[in-house]
């Protein structure tokens, strides 16, 4: 059994299938990119893995345990952290307090938690911002805070949802570096991203989704040259003409 595995995930919204039989595996230690056009169901898949939405059908296994059907906070406890596409900072708390709130999960005492939080903050390069109130941060820092907060739960698997969207080129480079650094620290990552550059540079493997189904799977290069993927992104006409 793979490290992380989804089997035939189905999610219906008002009779319409947003996710329709998605199965894929992720191996320990790799970065798996999840791509697909807008509305193809990527974020919904995250919400299913994370337990935010209940599954209509299908099963999810992580590290040998079935995690589908668990509550969100239990799934986090199992070792799956996530960030949100629309960032959800704890606005009126400082950056450090944000991280501290999640560091408690893996700490017995407050001093332990503070230590873990400080360490995570510096690991993610946010030390200079740690006393800032989260609500006052610019978007790039908020995105980074999402990652920092998720990292403080000491995840084994991290779900990154569009962490690069809205960043300028410099910030983008920083984000890519951080993602790689996290992977190198031994965390498996599934990343949803629109910006192809990010996906292509960081992913070990890519899964392409369209209309709630898996379209293609393989190395970034394989998926990028897959006819169906190009069609999905650029439209049928482009494909036929090409």
């Amino acid at each position: 059994m793979a490290y992380f595995e989804t089997l035939g995930l189905v999610k219906l919204f008002g009779g319409l299938a947003a996710v329709n039989g998605v199965s894929f595996d992720v191996n320990e230690g790799e970065i798996c990119g999840l791509i697909g056009p807008n509305g193809s169901g990527k974020t919904t898949i995250f919400n299913l893995i994370n337990g935010y939405f209940p599954l209509d059908k299908g099963e999810i296994y992580f590290n040998g345990n079935k995690i589908s059907g668990l509550k969100t906070h239990k799934i986090c406890r199992e070792g799956i952290g996530r960030t949100f596409q629309i960032v959800k900072p704890l606005k009126r708390m400082t950056v450090l307090d944000n991280v501290l709130a999640s560091a408690f999960l893996r700490s017995h005492t407050k001093s332990e938690a503070v230590e873990l939080a400080e360490k995570t903050v510096s690991f993610c390069g946010m030390t200079s911002l740690k006393d800032k109130v989260a609500g006052s941060l610019p978007i790039a820092s908020r995105k980074r805070l999402e990652i920092t907060r998720a990292m403080a739960t000491k995840p084994k698997l991290l779900l990154l949802d569009e962490t690069a969207a809205g960043l300028n080129p410099v910030e983008l480079e920083e984000a890519i570096a951080l993602i790689k650094k996290i992977r190198d620290s031994g965390v498996t990552i599934i990343i949803v991203e629109h910006i192809m550059k990010v996906i292509m540079t960081v992913s070990d493997r890519v899964v392409a989704i369209n209309h709630g189904m898996v379209l293609a799977e393989g190395t970034p290069e394989e998926v990028a040259s897959h006819a169906g993927v190009i069609a999905a992104y650029l439209g049928e006409d482009y494909c036929a003409a090409g």
């Binding site: 935010y52 906070h73 986090c76 009126r92 709130a101 999640s102």
Partner: protein, 327 residues
């Protein structure tokens, strides 16, 4: 430790207060203030810190009061046992309620608490064989002097403030505020939001129930409309919390003082000061002002509430983050 010097000094002043001010009128007002500190702290815990606004604090307050009253009335025990049990019974009410109703969010939860408040009031009114209905429960007060009540109220208020302070700097506190700030984010970092909302509600219910027991012991008489009053208890608790400062440890203390003292100042026309001034100056404007304030003190008070909400939306004491700068 430096942070605690101010409160400690203030505590000493409060301890000395009844010895310095012998007038039972002011002692009585201070007892009410201290009782409201406990209620306000409870409300602030569940609403101000955890973000689950409750419109039903009277349900817990009344449960505490009736626990004390019924212990004395039905079992012939001292009503002071209520101080031990009142809070616990309030938690017994809060627990199943929270278990069921915490799946509701925001305004819907607030409405459910409001309904709980009304259900409790009706139950206490109708269940005459247990509660004596509107005939009410009368017990004999233990002390003639106000000073014992004052110190018991002070102890309860101090315990409330300290427990809020302790809770809020612990794991629970961080979890409560995380839930308030973003429930989904809180879940995603491994916080069992349902469980911690329950913890917060039960703590709040305990403090409020404790205050209810104190009320029974101090006032000696309760009936359902007094202790389960939506307006006089539940809404008042919210006002204490909001005016003082949402999500601040000492906010409810300030709020309690303002709400009790200011409403008394308005009710009595500045403790009769206005009338003296009127008599002294004899100006017709003052006559008018005095008459207005005496007759429309609730109106003035309502205007004050509107003013505070408009211009001091987070209360007199600032927001949570400001008090946490020291970290």
């Amino acid at each position: 430790m430096k942070n605690h010097l101010g409160p400690l000094a203030f505590l000493l002043v409060l301890i000395a207060f009844p010895l310095a001010v012998r007038d039972p009128y002011y002692q009585h007002l201070m007892i009410l203030v201290l009782m409201w500190v406990a209620i306000g702290s409870g409300w602030n815990l569940i609403a101000g810190f955890t973000g689950q606004v409750s419109f039903g604090d009277a349900a817990f307050f009344g449960t505490g009061a009736y626990t004390a009253g019924l212990l004395a009335h039905k079992l012939g025990m001292s009503a002071w046992w209520g101080l031990g049990l009142g809070g616990i019974f309030a938690v017994i009410i809060a627990f199943p309620f929270g278990w069921i109703c915490f799946r509701l969010r925001g305004a819907y939860f607030a409405l459910a608490t409001l309904a709980l408040n009304e259900v409790m009031r009706h139950t206490a009114t109708i269940w005459e064989s247990l509660t004596e209905g509107m005939v009410g429960i009368l017990i004999m007060q233990t002390f003639v002097s106000k000073i014992p009540y004052y110190y018991i109220a002070l102890a309860i208020a101090v315990v409330s403030l300290i427990s809020v302070q302790v809770v809020m700097s612990s794991r629970w506190g961080y979890y409560f505020v995380s839930i308030r700030e973003d429930q989904d984010a809180a879940e995603s970092i491994g916080i069992d939001t349902h469980y911690y909302k329950m913890v917060s509600l039960c703590l709040a219910a305990y403090l409020t129930g404790l205050a209810g027991s104190l009320y029974m012991n101090y006032m000696g008489f309760i009936d359902p409309t007094i202790v389960f009053s939506l307006h006089d208890i539940s809404i008042m608790a919210i006002l204490v919390g909001i005016v003082g400062g949402v999500g601040t440890v000492y906010g409810p203390a300030v709020g309690a003082f303002i709400m009790v003292a200011v409403s008394e100042v308005f009710r009595t026309g500045g403790f009769g000061l206005l009338e003296k001034l009127t008599a002294a100056t004899g100006s017709p404007v003052m006559v008018l002002v005095t008459k207005y304030i005496k007759e429309a003190h609730v109106l003035t008070f309502g205007l004050l509430v509107i003013f505070v909400i408009l211009f001091l939306p987070n209360g007199v004491v600032g927001g949570w983050r400001k008090s946490r700068r020291s970290h």
